[in-house]
């Protein structure tokens, strides 16, 4: 399969997370470490159960005069653009679609003297586009923990309808008091670590970071190296309860089935699932039910890669991180070992391989379920080497 195939080709990747900066550090981290979250300076003193998976000090220093979320986004964006080998003209013409849950809201924490000018909180795509000099369509998506999944989907739509042929797309999340303290108030923070599907899980743990990709139409990607294609996406909304997912799971099932349908794939074509898997009591058991419904009796034979156990819940950036991980898994032909739950929840009989396993089928299903009930699933199809 070459880059002349229809669809949306992934030609560049960038990542900054607690595993460090760069996709090399990201892959090394996924294949050889089990990071632990750390207290958040200035916040954990006031809210003791708050921890976060934090970008190592100095790893994403770019010297850019922006807020933290934009600086993280820019670091990952420059990686992706360089990885894609874009020319200056291509950069000038590219669209930018960025997902975030909190934007730069964290920059207002602990600041008693506000700046004189209005600084809109959700300006990440604008600042990235501005800094890189990109004149294409520029969109900021704020769908909480599914934001970058929707951003990726929007990027696919822009390419499909011809509004763009090259899109810099992804997500970025910096830490903020409101989400971390908010989750603590709701009893949704795990005070130890992010341990999806663990019987003793007590909630999620946030992570900061940014994951960016360059995606291109087949024509624009022709002749360039490609990681593969985003071949399907599906949207849905629970419309059930503001904070708790609908235990029936109809809508996440529908999003996954729509993504598979668009990718002309069935359960037998899926080589791996990167789940939303946050470590909250509700999500992991619900998602298991969703995957059972979608994969049927293949559930126990399709390996999951539980990414949030490595980098925490990166909220608006989570889906983009999942696609970066999928692209790297496809490139390397294998799924890294999971961080094994101490005791896997018997209500979550998903397969979390404790050793690396080969990626036997090139299609990877990715889920992201937002606080508030917006769901998105994507199918990434790895390219042939």
């Amino acid at each position: 399969m070459g880059t002349t195939d229809p669809g949306v080709h992934v030609t560049g990747l960038g990542a900054v997370s607690c595993l460090g900066a760069g996709t090399g550090a990201f892959w090394t981290g996924l294949t050889s470490t089990a990071p632990r979250p750390a207290p958040v300076a200035g916040l954990t003193e006031r809210v003791p159960d708050v921890l976060a998976y934090q970008v190592p000090e100095g790893a994403a220093d770019t010297g850019d005069p922006y807020g933290r979320a934009t600086r993280l986004a820019l670091h990952a964006a420059r990686q992706a653009v360089a990885d894609a080998g874009l020319s200056d003209d291509e950069i000038a013409g590219m669209a930018v679609v960025l997902g975030t849950a909190g934007g730069e809201s964290g920059e207002r924490d602990g600041v008693t003297t506000p700046p004189a000018g209005w600084a809109p909180v959700f300006r990440l795509a604008s600042e990235v586009g501005g800094e890189l000099g990109a004149f294409g369509t520029n969109i900021n998506v704020s769908n909480a923990c599914a934001a970058s999944g929707y951003a990726l989907s929007v990027a696919m739509d822009l390419i499909d309808c011809g509004e763009a042929d090259t899109v810099l797309v992804g997500g970025a999340e910096a830490l903020g008091w409101a989400p971390l303290a908010g989750f603590s108030r709701l009893g949704a923070n795990d005070p130890e670590l992010c341990r999806p599907f663990d019987a003793d899980r007590r909630g999620t743990v946030f992570g900061e970071g940014a994951a960016m990709l360059v995606v291109r139409s087949a024509r624009a990607a022709a002749g360039r190296p490609s990681y593969g294609r985003l071949s399907g996406g599906g949207w849905s909304c629970d419309a059930h309860h503001l904070t708790a997912p609908d235990p029936a799971g109809d809508q996440p099932v529908r999003a996954a089935r729509e993504a598979l349908r668009e990718a002309a794939s069935g359960p037998e074509d899926i080589g791996c699932v990167v789940p939303h898997g946050t470590g909250t009591a509700h999500n992991d058991v619900l998602e298991t039910r969703v995957l059972r419904e979608v994969l049927g009796d293949r559930l126990e034979r399709v390996p999951l890669f539980s990414l949030k156990a490595f980098i925490g819940h990166t909220a608006g950036a989570a889906a983009a991180f999942a696609v970066v991980a999928a692209a790297l898994m496809a490139r390397h032909g294998r799924i890294p070992a999971n961080i094994a739950p101490r005791r896997q929840d018997p209500e979550c009989p998903v397969w979390l391989p404790r050793e690396p396993v080969p990626l036997r089928r090139r299609r990877i299903l990715l889920n992201a379920y937002a606080f508030g009930g917006s769901n998105v699933s994507l199918v990434f199809e790895g390219g042939t080497r």
């Binding site: 709701l186 009893g187 309860h241 708790a244």
Partner: protein
């Protein structure tokens, strides 16, 4: 941060809960079930718990959420907590 705490009084508790749930006082009968009859979901139950903690100056662990099911039960829970402290 210690707040000025309120002595426990059934009618005052009734009015407080009615305000939190945003219903008429008359609907908060002694035994009306919050969840089944007054549409209180787990988040609103937590709101009740947290608000009563602050009002009465006592810690109510989240494990007590299932005891916050009616006015009578809530009163009993608070009485027990305040007695113990």
């Amino acid at each position: 941060m210690p707040e000025l705490t309120t002595p426990l009084d059934l009618e005052d508790l009734r009015a407080t809960i009615a305000e939190i749930i945003d219903v008429d006082i008359a609907e908060v009968t002694d035994t009306a079930d919050f969840k089944e009859e007054l549409d209180v979901d787990s988040l609103l139950a937590l709101e009740i718990l947290v608000t009563l903690e602050r009002k009465y100056g006592t810690k109510l662990a989240e494990s007590n959420l299932q005891k916050v099911r009616s006015l009578n039960e809530t009163y009993a829970l608070l009485a027990e907590q305040l007695e113990a402290s």
